[in-house]
Symmetry: C2
Subunit: 219 residues, 2 copies
């Protein structure tokens, strides 16, 4: 919206290939340069930290010149925020899918397993740098941005509460629900620091270990 290069409103043809030709046909596929910047930023922010990454690093990784990221993003800070917001939305989306059609109270242990697995997938999946950046570069945000993101985080974490409450009521979870949620999510989030897809336990084994560590399961 508000794009000064947009065709006039009367022109509603669905064809998109008209207008100024792009450099090569498979690159420059319209708005995907923004995506390239986001991905490059996520990877670099994760590896080197926000302050340890220059906008030039990001531009180079996305195949651009040093000033070009600022055509797509107002500031380096806006880039960081966009990465984190994308991360949170993907996490919420995957969490929602994981619980689809499940009544948490009916089989709370199964719901718990799905929540843990979804969390690991979004955290440890190949190329999933967005959520780790969101977890570990929190500090670099402005207060206003932090507040907006906090709403998404509250939404995400709130989904755990009824599941944990049901497990607590059944005696499968012994610690207080709120502290349990904080400690459990901490244990999961910390896996980013040590988990290695190429060796050691798989995500499924990890999920299993977490279930047995936190809950009193039968057998």
């Amino acid at each position: 919206m508000d794009n000064p290069f947009a065709d006039s409103v009367t022109d509603s043809t669905p064809k998109r290939a008209r207008g100024r030709p792009r450099k090569t046909l498979d690159e420059r596929d319209d708005g995907n340069r923004r995506q390239a910047l986001l991905s490059a930023a996520a990877r670099l922010f994760r590896r080197q930290g926000f302050d340890g990454t220059s906008t030039r690093d990001i531009a180079t990784a996305a195949g651009m010149q040093s000033g070009s990221p600022f055509y797509h993003f107002k500031s380096k800070d806006a880039l960081l925020y966009a990465v984190m917001e994308a991360g949170m939305h993907s996490a919420i989306e995957r969490q929602t899918k994981a619980l689809q059609g499940k009544a948490p109270a009916a089989d709370a242990a199964e719901a718990m397993r799905r929540l843990i697995k979804a969390h690991f997938d979004v955290l440890l999946g190949p190329g999933n740098d967005f959520v780790p950046v969101m977890l570990y570069e929190h500090r670099a945000l402005s207060a206003a941005e932090r507040a907006t993101l906090a709403e998404l985080q509250v939404r995400y974490e709130a989904v755990w509460t009824p599941v944990l409450q049901a497990l607590h009521d059944k005696g499968q979870l012994q610690a207080p629900v709120k502290l349990s949620r904080l400690l459990i999510l901490g244990a999961l989030n910390w896996t980013v620091q040590w988990f290695d897809r190429k060796k050691g336990a798989s995500v499924d084994e990890l999920t299993d270990a977490a279930m047995r560590l936190f809950l009193r399961l039968p057998n």
Copy 2:
């Protein structure tokens, strides 16, 4: 040792006030300037991150001019390393004291509680910024420094293993010992992100919750 300003060896008087007078009597108490730099660096590295903190910030916080930190430390990197090493040594020391005179296998649950409490104390105690820096600024170290610190971390984490093994043998810990250690330490380390001494649970309540979350305790 190796201090070029030290008095000659033959002079063994315990008096320390001789020689070039210091600016004021309560400041400049010989080698405590180095400590002031370390403390200031720890606090700032934790709040703003390593890359987000300038050596000028640190100098100002320690009451020095911009170039002076380099009189005490060879580089900004050396300062970071010194902070982390001090953090690890304090953690190991407190851990050792916490288990003093305890045979882990005899009362594994009690040993576990002491390990958790010691960990929280070193992590969440007022002004204890050294260990959090060590946990969250790992990335900024050189490979050689990381390797040296890794030895200390291995020593620290190794203490947990026999305790967890004993708990596992008794059936009080259900998940595999190694994954348990990783997940548990993650849960504890993450508390740095949310724990607030001024509200919510106390360290003792937190320790209690962790015990009940991870172990199958009687009653």
